[in-house]
Symmetry: C2
Subunit: 342 residues, 2 copies
DNA sequence: GAGGAAATTTAAAGCGCTTTGGATGATTAC
DNA sequence: GTAATCATCCAAAGCGCTTTAAATTTCCTC
């Protein structure tokens, strides 16, 4: 059923039917009711391709997921996208998902822009100095970044958590518990969030006049395996850390495994604080959660990011919008006072 | 830059330019070269909405992800989709992602069909008796199911792993190792894969004349937390299981936690076999992998499913296509002979 | 070198929608 | 009673592409 057929059935022009359905004022209320009733009776849905061709708006948002050979598909992206998706459906937008390897990234953005398949994009996993920002500005495609560029605080919209502050607080808690040798198991170092977390960590350490030991600072994809390897290596030192600060629940599961393998008890012999993105499959819940954590729902961030982007598309003059989310520090079972002799 | 402008620049008709770009035969080779060169020079990309309006093909595939209040976003879906996405980009298709709660599911499918936003869909997480199959047949929308309907083996395309066989083999291995009390930690029972795995498990048990204890058969979302709770409960029985068969790596991490908490050693006191979807964030690798597992890459399944669907769209007469993937049983460190007295 | 076939190109219609620029009555104002 | 105003409705153009039908050019053949 298309517009033409529907309007034939109603003995009305396409114009009137279209206007009735889109709530334009210049149509009699009685006919509007009649039209809407017929539309739902015949389950008429305007063809979105035709609509978007006529209006020039794609009614779709693009998410371009970077995929390295190593980091394949981060569950954190997935959850963020699930959040965004809900915001889109509410507003009648579609979500276009593209994966890309880093070497083809720029051309993917260019293609998407010139094909006109989306009205805007969400940028995932911003790097230290991210060329995508200027690219998108050049392409004149509205966007919101999940995270920020580290070097460029300029004119663009973003949503981010306060990584620095969270990791500062978490580190300070560990220090207050008497820990002095703290291992940081962080994300890939080129990523912006990892830099900011390192900054918060470093600040707390130097504030307390503790020195950093590069040997127990780790960077890598936030997988279980990487967490395990890093923690195993750290614990094997003659002077092992008494505490770990871990950038994700997933790598923390690997850290937990390493601690158990070393015949140590988490929360007693070794303390652990994680950043908890509140992934639905790895949620750190319970009266006393397993891990002490800085928490922030990445799904909610996805929803907010989507809403921001849609509002920018509606009213470009309001851009840039920014939003900084604070993580909540929650005490769980994985932290305790330093019991080592040192 | 659009077709009109491009053809004006080339002093050719839109027809010829369009044909040149789409490799139609009725255009002089020299002009084709000239056109293509100009197209790439001006970075011309046909507007996909216009193209699809003209051709009647959306050049997009829909993935509709069911989201319960409990199960939010399964990393397995994510990885499957990442695989599919690669197949789509190769063929110039877009991937449309929609999330839906189960109560609005049917209307989401209907809407997608009548809006004409996609040429086909992939159906995720088929249930025991899944109404989506007949719905999609009625809507005349090509589809491929990741999994199968349990009750309906009829006329539709699917790709699935041999769940029954895998779990039969895994169970048999445990039995051969002397285990008689085996706990099954499975997915949500309405889902087809969980049924089939249960069947394989049951067959191996009854073949060996062992009785099933309903108290140590668990169903639920395949989260870490659920794995932990199930295993903790099972191990608390007066007569605890000596082995676990676990439907995912993620819940197995919870099982591992429960085993440690009970002061038992995995692979020595308690054996564990998992099904490993080879998720990139939770890959069970190494010379001797942590877990003994039945393995099958869900990302590869996504890629294959996508290719199947595209081929069905190209040549509808070849449907239905089906593909059964065998999982590989790999011995890891989590299994050993039964050492209990029973 | 004329006739016909083959190769190459083009004009124009059409995909399903929105939107501009009228039309057509009905209503109001004087 | 006529002009001006409103409320409704409609015909037709246009979004950017593909494709049909037709025109033009080139190439053979004898």
């Amino acid at each position: 059923m298309n517009l033409k057929q529907l309007s034939a059935k109603l003995q009305l022009s396409q114009t009137t039917v279209s206007r009735a359905l889109n709530d334009y004022p210049e149509v009699n209320e009685a006919t509007r009711v009649r039209v809407k009733r017929a539309a739902s009776k015949f389950n008429y849905q305007p063809n979105i391709r035709a609509t978007s061709l006529a209006t020039g708006r794609a009614k779709a948002i693009g998410h371009i997921i970077p995929i390295n050979s190593s980091e394949v598909f981060n569950p954190i992206f997935a959850e963020f996208i699930a959040g965004a998706s809900q915001a889109y459906s509410k507003r009648g937008y579609e979500l276009l998902l593209t994966t890309t390897e880093s070497n083809t990234e720029e051309s993917v953005y260019r293609t998407i822009a010139s094909k006109g398949s989306v009205d805007g994009v969400i940028v995932h996993a911003p790097r230290f100095k991210d060329s995508r920002i200027s690219l998108l500005q050049e392409l004149n495609l509205p966007f919101v970044i999940h995270g920020r560029d580290y070097s460029n605080t300029g004119d663009y919209s973003w949503i981010d958590i306060n990584n620095r502050q969270s990791f500062y607080q978490a580190t300070k808690l560990l220090i207050d518990l008497g820990h002095t040798r703290i291992s940081l198991i962080n994300g890939v170092e080129t990523l912006n969030f990892a830099r900011r977390r390192l900054m918060g960590f470093t600040k707390a350490m130097t504030d307390a006049q503790l020195t950093l030991d590069q040997n127990i600072l780790f960077n890598g994809d936030l997988t279980e395996a990487n967490g395990y390897h890093a923690a195993t290596k750290a614990l094997a030192f003659k002077n092992p850390p008494t505490a770990f600060l871990v950038s994700s629940y997933m790598s923390a599961l690997g850290v937990r495994r390493a601690i158990h393998n070393a015949n140590l008890q988490m929360g007693v012999d070794v303390s652990v604080i994680i950043h908890d993105d509140e992934l639905s499959y790895f949620h750190n819940t319970g009266d006393v959660p397993q891990f002490t954590a800085t928490r922030s729902s990445v799904m909610e961030a996805g929803m907010l990011a989507a809403e921001m982007l849609l509002s920018i598309i509606d009213k470009p003059e309001t851009a840039p919008l920014t939003k900084l989310l604070e993580a909540r520090l929650t005490i769980g079972a994985s932290t305790g006072p330093n019991r080592s002799d040192t």
